[in-house]
């Protein structure tokens, strides 16, 4: 398992190419989240984090998912700081023997990142600067994993 929280830009394709899926992995699922320009309204996102605390929280939720789904490997990269429109914010990749575990883990980790990763996201544009908070849909999405 590898968890990275960094202000550095990253190349999702290269990270996925080097994601070690292991000999008996039949399945690799992944998700990449990008900063959307929203038709030019958003120039960049600014993501704040709490150094140490944020990494520990993401590592804990990733480790829980790895164990719960019996994954072979799990990779979480979360960029923080200023992220220009069009660039990658987050990458989650999971490998497992069969497809359901990897696909479920990627959805679950993404849902938990939205509500449980100590990161604060501000949208910056020519005419706006606003803090993003998880939507009701985000909270429902995270809650469905706890029910199972």
């Amino acid at each position: 398992m590898r968890v990275v929280v960094s202000t550095q830009a990253f190349a999702p394709d290269q990270e996925l190419a080097s994601f070690a899926r292991g000999g008996e992995a039949g399945a690799v699922a992944s998700f990449v989240g990008y900063c959307r320009a929203e038709g030019g309204a958003v120039e960049r996102l600014e993501l704040e984090h709490y150094p140490g605390f944020t990494e520990a929280a993401i590592a804990r939720l990733a480790g829980d998912s790895l164990r719960r789904h019996g994954l072979i490997d799990l990779l979480v990269i979360h960029r923080v700081g200023a992220i220009p429109a069009g660039e990658a914010i987050v990458l989650v990749a999971a490998s497992s023997a069969h497809r359901l575990e990897a696909l479920t883990a990627v959805s679950e980790v993404m849902d938990y990142l939205k509500t449980e990763a100590p990161i604060w996201k501000k949208e910056i544009g020519a005419d706006r600067a606003r803090w993003v908070e998880p939507s009701a849909a985000d909270r429902q999405a995270a809650a469905r994993w706890a029910e199972n």
Binding site: G52, V90, K114
Partner: protein, 84 residues
């Protein structure tokens, strides 16, 4: 002296990301919030919102009401997270 960290919109309200609080004694959380707000009642109220999570020395405080802050502690006030 304890230190306070503000994140997200709380940082915008405070106008800074951290402050040292001039105090040599243990404090309960409401008292600490009042001192950390430097007389800004809107900030003090915002820090006390149900949606704001508190970390003491980088560990989440499950029940904020029972939290006691000592000199040397680091207290973080965290509005709802929005990772991913």
């Amino acid at each position: 002296m304890p230190r306070v960290l503000f994140f997200g919109r709380l940082r915008d309200m405070a106008g800074c990301s951290e402050r040292e609080i001039a105090c040599e004694n243990d404090l309960d959380l409401p008292t600490f919030r009042r001192l950390a707000s430097l007389g800004d009642h809107d900030l003090e109220e915002a820090l006390a919102a149900r949606s704001v999570r508190v970390a003491l020395n980088a560990v989440l405080v499950p029940v904020a009401a029972t939290c006691s802050v000592s000199p040397g502690d680091e207290v973080a006030f965290m509005p709802p997270f929005s990772g991913g």
